[in-house]
């Protein structure tokens, strides 16, 4: 059945309209938040007529000069690095082993890694509260947050590494390396990890995003991380608090854009020489 010209035009237009509507739905609250954080006007005065007036970054620069900002931000960065290293050190050998030796266990491992999605962070916190009196020696350290962040980031990081492993012919590459005299460790560092570069970068960025956004556990364990600092600062200076939140959101968005760019550059790599081309060139 032939579609009329107006039906075809509507078919082309509809996705664009949905996209615009969705963009407005997400953009308006963010714009409102940005105006509150960065426009030096009373909230009651904010309107369409003064949309471009008195924008300033003074609220955010004021938060930077807070005594605890540098400490909290540095701690979060350290935790992000620690969590990323811990995650990679744990996940890469595990995922490689599962792919090579226990392919049937893949479904089980995937289920395990998805648990932090199913079980909310607050349930984890309840567990921590129970354990706390017996593990103060560990929980007193700021770095005790790392294992919890590793668990929280698992649904994202495992999938990233798993997808990377599925994209390469892992078994053959590992066996080729072994047959050429490499130990397991050498194979991991010289063959597997270099070929998982994009997956590792994605996994790292996702870990950083989780660490920079996690508040519940750090608050329960009384750690002054960047999200805890933001929450506290917001109570004394709401504008500055929301300005920091927008900056964190911007940073996370940039990380995801970087993941997208890296994935794209990987997928647009020159393709394998085709069969027909092959016959035309030297064997």
């Amino acid at each position: 059945m032939k579609q009329s010209r107006s039906q075809r035009a509507l078919g082309r237009l509809l996705p664009t309209l949905v996209l615009i509507a969705s963009a407005i739905f997400f953009a308006f609250p963010l714009l409102a938040m940005a105006r509150f954080a960065f426009q030096n006007l009373q909230v009651i005065d904010l309107g369409w007529n003064n949309l471009f007036e008195k924008w300033s970054i003074s609220s955010v620069t004021a938060s930077f000069s807070d005594d605890f900002f540098a400490e909290a931000f540095t701690l979060s960065l350290k935790l992000a690095v620690g969590t990323a290293l811990f995650t990679l050190g744990l996940l890469i050998p595990t995922a490689v082993w599962v792919h090579l030796r226990l392919p049937k266990a893949r479904v089980f491992v995937e289920f395990l890694t998805i648990l932090p999605y199913v079980i909310p962070a607050i349930a984890l916190v309840a567990g921590i509260v129970v354990v706390k009196p017996h593990a103060r020696w560990f929980l007193n350290s700021d770095y005790s947050l790392i294992p919890f962040y590793v668990v929280l980031a698992l649904p994202f990081t495992y999938r990233s590494i798993d997808t990377g492993l599925r994209a390469i012919d892992l078994k053959v590459l590992v066996e080729a390396s072994r047959s050429l005299g490499s130990t397991w460790i050498a194979t991991l560092f010289r063959v597997v990890i270099p070929n998982l570069r994009a997956a590792i970068i994605s996994s790292t960025f996702l870990t950083v995003a989780v660490v920079l956004g996690e508040y519940t556990i750090s608050d329960v364990l009384l750690k002054r991380t960047f999200p805890s600092f933001m929450a506290q600062y917001r109570q004394s200076d709401p504008r500055g608090g929301y300005a920091l939140a927008i900056l964190a959101l911007l940073g996370t968005t940039l990380l995801f854009v970087a993941i997208g760019v890296l994935s794209k550059s990987r997928s647009t790599r020159p393709q394998q020489v085709s069969r027909s081309q092959e016959n035309e060139i030297l064997v």
Binding site: A176, R269, V273, E278
Partner: protein
Amino acid sequence: MTSLSFTGIRKTFGTTVALESLDLALQPGELVSLLGPSGCGKTTALRIAAGFEIPDTGVVSLGESVITGTPAHRRNMGMVFQSYSLFPNLTVAQNVDFGLRNRKVEKAKRNSRVGEMLELVQLGELGKRYPHQLSGGQQQRVALARALAVQPEVLLLDEPLSALDAKVRSTLRDEIRRIQTELKTTTLFVTHDQDEALAISDRIGVMSNGRLEQLGTPEDVYLRPASPFVARFVGSINELPNSNGVGKILVRPEDVTISADENELTMRGTVTRVTFQGPVTIISVRVDVVDQLVNVHAASGSIQTQVGDRVSLAVAPGRGIVEAA
């Protein structure tokens, strides 16, 4: 040059028996092909030689040394895989250099060896390219150069040509044989392609259901098959009822004589198809009494016949093997 031998090798995966008492010895410098259908155990045998599988029972020896439990990375064997196995993150030259670096060969020697190997496989100009910039045939040549660079005691080839086009496959097959003969490397070649095995091998081991059915020269395997399975698997075969009514006679199409004179030979029939294939014409004849189709390979031009003609056939004296019922 080193010998490689399998003695009493048995390997099971769960309840499946992949290899049942395999005894096979490769002489130094020899190229032996393991030929058989999928699941016959040929790849398992090669993987046991490489150290990727451990046999349940039996012994693998390299020269005088028993290597049954030796890890893969300590076996000094080179291996070329069915799928392209070059490391995507390394250039062609770095791929060939990979095994030499593992063996801590000094840099000047490594560079010269990489150059030699790339010249050997006629890819001297492509050292700086990455694997994805090469054709499948070129990738397998690099894989061969990489495997040979470490001067392996045994070269293991796991269906290295099966992912390639027919034209490329034939050229590379000849290249492998040339290089193997030049370097005199003991080689175990696994394939399911009988033409490949017949063309390249010093000896062929035909396998079925985890057992070695026959080990012999290509001529032995083709002309004097040790079992009906070998006769059926290697080359094409006609199956005729035995004259005493018990069992069958298996005979190759080129071992059947055909005459345009219906009364000249012992079996009579009607031509159902004539297929011209260059030097050979395949004539399909439905034999009267047994109502069975027999293919005959006749030299093109040696007999003028067409569909519907009445002809007579006979099995050449001394040819064909009898399969008991």
